[in-house]
Symmetry: C2
Subunit: 252 residues, 2 copies
């Protein structure tokens, strides 16, 4: 007996959301432990025991600790017999193709999305300044990644990555990355995503396939989106904004 | 029957070297197909069929194509029965810990090492200018990654990552990343690596464990190192250097 699974997560973090949705969808019995990044809980001694690298998500299953969301999703797919095969197939050819997408994710879609969002919107809430040059460079990587999703990874028979007819852990991980774009100004988000019709359909299909869990776990993001919107209209009216005001209104 | 494995590689690329060393060490029967990045062979129609993302390494095994070096190493460990278990253990707990290191690799050690080397030495040979600001930012990530290797990933009983007594695919992949630092000015390389005694010992142990293949596959890098050294002393003597001169002497 391993004991009950503990998932250390902040729902404002996209890989945290992917792991939480996965556990809930697959009926895994787990306890969610909130690690509030904005309150620096990831630096606490308790969490350092679970992940000395101070990143969410991380899990503790009995004495076994693990971090890095892709590795966690692989572990959960392997260790919990109730998880359907399509999430991480036992067939080695299908399995390593999923590994290939997940490996690609890191320096492409994730790099582009994280750096774009944090340099256009999120930075000040996490105590970092916005950097327009870094945002421009991240946008290039993000757009190139979206076009590779559209033309290569979603270029198959089914609606999911690699032509799958049911979602894999790669679909969940990459779609959760893209939902982070919700916090952008709506026009900006549309400008970025609108040209990629297959990507938009795939986000929708993955959401539908994992609801109601997908929506429930994303609620915090939709609330943050509203706050950022209100903030933007206040700035538009007064024509000014300071970091202090930004921080007061962006506690997540 | 899958037919003979084809490995598409440029030995100047560190993940290419990891896959080649792995195949040779494990007695896998394969054909090495050179994709010369400096001659833009990665954009050829033949290679695009194997990897539409135009990156090395990639493999073709019968009709099955695969790219991303970590996924390739997982595939080779699973598909070739002669590969010893320590490379990618069947035990799920040991296996996903290796996944965790490999996932960490992308945005940490790889990001730092690749961007530092390409912005201090390699850039012009690949048609990109050197960028001192980007080099400084990459150096921070590289040093932080080295300190995490030293204090966390190499903090176990054995000499290898995660306390292993024999190397895994993660050891090979990460050590090949670090050998890229050979092309740096020797003083600069020593300055970066010298404080990390466990890391230095681990590079040596991984090399010893996989020789003579490790050295043979790295020969091209040692030759490139000499060329860059000669170039640097010429610059030191004449006090000047142009991109043209740099390019003329750095064909690899």
């Amino acid at each position: 007996m391993m004991g009950k699974l503990k998932v250390y997560a902040d729902r404002m973090s996209q890989p945290s959301r992917a792991v939480l949705i996965f556990c809930r969808f697959n009926g895994i019995d787990f306890e969610e432990i909130k690690v509030d990044l904005s309150k620096r809980h990831h630096l606490s001694p308790e969490f350092t025991e679970v992940n000395p690298l101070h990143k969410v998500p991380a899990i503790l299953h009995g004495n076994f600790n693990l971090f890095e969301s892709h590795a966690i999703l692989v572990y959960l797919s392997s260790a919990f017999p109730g998880v359907a095969d399509h999430w991480y197939p036992t067939d080695v050819f299908r399995r390593v193709k999923i590994n290939s997408v997940l490996d690609w994710h890191h320096s492409n879609l994730r790099y582009g999305a994280v750096n774009y969002v944090s340099n256009t919107v999120l930075g000040p809430a996490l105590g970092r300044p916005l950097n327009p040059e870094a945002a421009a460079e991240a946008e290039k990587v993000l757009l190139s990644s979206l076009s590779k999703l559209e033309d290569i990874w979603l270029n198959g028979d089914g609606h999911f990555l690699l032509g799958g007819f049911q979602p894999s852990i790669a679909d969940l991980s990459l779609v959760c990355e893209l939902t982070q774009l919700e916090v952008l100004d709506e026009k900006d988000r549309d400008r970025i995503l609108f040209p990629y019709k297959k990507v938009l359909q795939w986000i929708e299909d993955t959401r539908t396939a994992t609801n109601p869990h997908f929506e429930e776990v994303h609620n915090i993001l939709y609330r943050a989106k509203k706050k950022f919107q209100q903030q933007r209209s206040r700035v538009a009216k007064t024509g000014t904004e300071t970091n202090n005001v930004m921080e007061r209104h962006s506690k997540m």
